[in-house]
């Protein structure tokens, strides 16, 4: 299945990227494809276009802070989780998203 995700932690130094890596790693393991946008200290990287989002089945928002451009996700099935959850049990997040 095709996912999109955004990660954003309070300082944007470490956990944003750790969570992104974790989601990518897990998606691969579960046989999904995913594109993860990071909103960290370097601003938005690997930005999701509206087309990316529209093409995906669901969105994972692993964020501790309000994100930039949230309106992009208005029309998609999505799950909002704390960044820590993405680190701790990423498989559960994918399951939860599929069930949403």
């Amino acid at each position: 299945m095709k996912f999109v995700a955004v990660t954003a932690c309070p300082t944007g130094i470490a956990h944003t990227y750790m969570a992104a890596e974790q989601l990518e790693k897990t998606a691969q393991k579960l046989g999904h494809t995913i594109k993860v946008e990071t909103q960290g200290a370097m601003g938005i990287e690997n930005e999701l276009s509206q087309a990316d989002i529209d093409a995906a089945e669901a969105a994972i928002l692993a964020t501790d802070i309000a994100i930039e451009k949230p309106e992009r996700f208005d029309r998609i099935r999505k799950v909002q989780v704390p960044v820590q959850a993405a680190l701790k049990d990423p498989v559960a997040i994918f399951q939860k998203t599929l069930a949403a």
Partner: protein, 838 residues
């Protein structure tokens, strides 16, 4: 006729020393007998005796009666009624707590979370000291004073009466000259004891029985009142015992002379000396081998002692309240002059914390020592003199040891303090020669006497002034005390034959002052020549630039003088019109104010254009972080406390002159001191520092708690010069931990922060010998820590992509295993650099 006045004590602390003094001051204006009865206890006191009033132990809301009998009883009754109603309730103002002065110091979590007794003060000389608490001050009677002999009662009581009168007058005079509220309170309390009828009566009583001498009676009366006062349950009264001690000490001094009663404690083991105040003489008499720390009450008259303590690197805190507490006696205490604390109860956590602190400071010092004996040159090979400030010849050696290339300021006042007569010419000559001999051919800039203002000398009888800093001091008093000045000049001229001595005249404001001083110097040189005494005819003569007026006549001064030294402390306070001792004016009294930098620029460039040597010897020069600006402004030399010399030399070696000049030029265009600080911050970041470094890898840490781990990493960054504000950095890391733990599982944690407290982006890797609790995501303890720090002003996000790469990497088990298995710090560092560069 007898009148009565009833009241309930309105003072929450009862009638302690201060209100008792106030009450006594009203009562003593009348001839009537005035007594106070505490109806709770039945105690009756003579209201003209502060000690008696205190002895009545009046507590809050105690019913009291004042009975007035005698000729002017009505007037006394009116005055006392008025006083009790209107002024008495206001007598209780607690003395301002010194903890307000702490300002921006951030206490480390291990201290804020501890329940130990911590006394707060103001750090004056940085460092950590550990040792037995030794109290100085109070009454110490030297063994050679006879206490009992077949003394003649009339003679001895005459001595006591005369001394009481004399010291009461002395307190009176000092009160008129005093502006500090704390000092005034103290002097008033002392004065009231000196004229207390009960005190006088007891002194005479104690003379009698064993044919005591005056000294014997003083010792006995001190014991008597100390016993009474320390038995009370009020801390304020116990404090009073120390006032009695002080007065008794003054009496002894008055009768037997200061030299007879100055007894120095003999330090025999590592000690922290605690004193309400300490004179430079008392300080110098302490055995510095064992002097590990200094804790002073109010800083009032101790600023010179603090300057000395700084030269010798003795950790010192000042403005500590509660020093008079009787219970302050401990075998193991720590003075933390980084945070301004005195700790007298220690537990293992605190001991471990301070062991780390001591290691941090020692390692930093050891690192800086590498620079101590290298010539101070910029990387583009421009020499910048780094010199030491000293106050005694004895400090010269320490200064050269610390890497000073010369003595940029030898303050000669110390020779003159703490004595009844000025030092003789020979005494001075010897001291100046000693300084020259430690210098071994290196220049010694010797400043002539800078007294008056905040540094009065009893034997000169200088008049009290409303505004001593703008008053009669230094070169301004020389014509009136010409003999004193001439004897110093003669000693200096004679000493000039023994090494490169340069004379520096303080507080020069007008050209006439220079002409006069030079005339005296020439006359003394001629006199030496006539007498066949050797001297250096080419001895350099210079002026302190510390009065703005001098800076606006530099061309004239340049024609007359060989060199200049900027006294930035006074220059700044006169220039900014801001008292340097007033913490409320700290923003104005800021050497980085652009106007002041422009002023310095004007002075330095005009002196240099005239081909004159110019140095700076104020506190501004001791700040390593300001050094690139000062170097860029073109100073020939910066002179600072010896303990700061190595750090300054390290800084000189770090920055090419071209960069410093650019920085100074930019600073001169800044609008605010904050802008200048921003500029300095950016500048500091230009130091080429790699993100990872084998020295940032701690391969086997013995830290046992999360607090210790974070501190150890921060301390390492400090030792390597990557942060100058370790506590602020620590706080930033803890603030991030407070959001949620950075322990992300697998035994790993990744603490991090973005802060202005670091000057370089850094990555610290720590492997812990034993796992520590971190509040991790998986609930398991942590054994490997990657700590990231990013500069606040790193707008370019220089290393962010590297950090984000690292953050992604740690999610992979193989990478984590590589870190765990790396055999040493070099391999671990190579591993990190390799991965991050990929």
């Amino acid at each position: 006729m007898s009148l009565e006045l009833k009241f309930a004590c309105p003072l929450p602390n009862g009638i302690h020393a201060r209100p008792a003094s106030a009450l006594e001051e009203v009562a003593r204006n009348f001839v009537a007998d005035i007594s106070l009865t505490n109806d709770r206890t039945g105690n009756v006191a003579n209201v003209k005796s502060v000690l008696a009033i205190i002895g009545a132990e009046v507590r809050h809301r105690d019913p009291c009666r004042i009975v007035i009998t005698g000729a002017d009883a009505e007037a006394a009754h009116a005055a006392l009624s008025d006083f009790v109603r209107h002024e008495f309730p206001g007598c209780d103002d607690p003395t301002p707590a010194s903890s307000n002065l702490i300002g921006e110091i951030v206490l480390p979590p291990v201290l804020t979370q501890s329940n130990q007794i911590i006394r707060h003060g103001k750090p004056a000389v940085a460092g950590i000291g550990r040792g037995r608490l030794v109290r100085l001050g109070g009454l110490q009677v030297p063994p050679n004073l006879p206490l009992q002999r077949n003394a003649d009662f009339a003679t001895e009581s005459g001595k006591l009466d005369a001394a009481l009168t004399a010291i009461a007058e002395d307190y009176e005079t000092r009160l008129e000259q005093q502006h500090s509220r704390l000092e005034i309170e103290l002097l008033k309390a002392h004065r009231s004891i000196a004229r207390d009828p009960e005190f006088r009566q007891k002194l005479h009583e104690f003379l009698q029985p064993e044919q005591r001498t005056a000294a014997g009676a003083i010792v006995a009366v001190e014991k008597y009142f100390t016993m009474i006062l320390t038995q009370t349950d009020s801390a304020l009264l116990r404090e009073r015992a120390l006032d009695v001690q002080d007065v008794c000490y003054q009496l002894l001094r008055q009768i037997y002379g200061p030299s007879a009663v100055t007894a120095e404690p003999h330090l025999t083991q590592d000690s922290i000396v605690v004193a309400e105040s300490l004179t430079p003489g008392q300080f110098l008499a302490l055995n510095r081998k064992f002097l590990k720390g200094l804790v002073l009450g109010h800083a009032g008259n101790t600023s010179h002692t603090v300057i000395l303590a700084r030269s010798f690197g003795i950790p010192t805190i000042i403005d500590v309240a509660d020093l008079r507490n009787e219970t302050l006696c401990h075998d193991e205490a720590i003075v933390d002059a980084e945070c301004g604390l005195l700790l007298t109860t220690l537990n293992d956590t605190i001991r471990r914390y301070y062991a780390m602190e001591e290691r941090r400071i020692a390692e930093r010092k050891a690192r800086l020592r590498r620079f101590a004996h290298q010539p101070a040159r910029t990387p583009d090979n421009c020499p910048v003199g780094i010199a030491g400030n000293i106050g005694t010849a004895a400090e010269g050696e320490a200064a050269f040891d610390a890497g000073a290339e010369s003595i940029g300021l030898f303050r000669t006042e110390m020779l003159f303090f703490d004595r009844d007569t000025p030092p003789t010419e020979d005494e001075q000559f010897e001291e100046y020669c000693r300084a020259l001999s430690t210098a071994k051919g290196r220049p010694v800039i010797t400043r002539t006497l800078d007294i008056g203002g905040d540094k009065p000398l009893a034997y000169l009888h200088l008049p009290a002034e409303n505004n001593p800093f703008l008053g009669y001091r230094a070169v301004r008093i020389y014509p009136e005390y010409e003999n004193l000045f001439r004897s110093q000049i003669r000693a200096l001229v004679r000493a000039s034959a023994h090494g490169p001595l340069k004379i520096l005249i303080p507080m020069i404001t007008a050209a006439e002052e220079i002409a006069w001083a030079k005339q005296v110097i020439r006359e003394e040189q001629n006199r030496c020549r006539a007498a066949g005494i050797p001297y250096d005819a080419n001895m350099a003569i210079g002026a302190m630039i510390e009065v703005p007026a001098a800076a606006f006549q530099l061309d004239v001064l340049c024609r007359e003088l060989d060199f200049f030294s900027i006294g930035s402390n006074d220059l700044l306070q006169y220039f900014a019109g801001a008292d340097r001792a007033n913490p409320r004016l700290a923003k104005l009294y800021d050497p980085l104010q652009p106007a002041f930098l422009r002023f310095l620029h004007k002075i330095i460039s005009e002196a240099r254009a005239a081909g004159k040597w110019i140095g700076l010897c104020g506190e501004m020069g001791g700040h390593a972080e300001y050094l690139p600006i000062l170097v860029g402004l073109g100073l020939d030399e910066i002179s600072a406390a010896p303990s700061l010399v190595a750090a300054l030399k390290a800084e000189v070696a770090a920055w090419p002159m071209t960069l410093c000049r650019d920085l100074a030029a930019k600073a001169l265009t800044c609008a605010t001191a904050a802008d200048v600080r921003g500029l300095l911050d950016e500048f500091a970041a230009r130091r080429p520092t790699p993100l990872v470094d084998p020295e940032l890898v701690i391969i086997e840490s013995t830290s046992t708690t999360k607090q210790e781990v974070i501190k150890e990493a921060v301390d390492r960054l400090y030792v390597l010069g990557r942060t100058q504000q370790p506590r602020a950095l620590e706080q930033a890391l803890w603030q991030r931990e407070a959001v949620y733990s950075t322990g992300f599982g697998h035994g790993f944690a990744i603490p991090h922060c973005k802060t202005s407290a670091v000057s370089a982006n850094s990555l610290v890797l720590m492997r812990l010998r034993a796992p520590v609790e971190w509040g991790s995501l998986d609930g398991k303890p942590v054994q490997t820590v990657l700590l990231l720090t990013i500069r606040e002003s790193d707008h370019a996000n220089n290393h962010m992509n590297v950090f984000s790469k690292l953050a992604r990497k740690v999610m992979h088990e193989d990478f984590r295993n590589h870190l765990i298995e790396a055999p040493d710090s070099t391999v671990a560092c190579a591993l990190l650099s390799g991965v991050l560069a990929a």
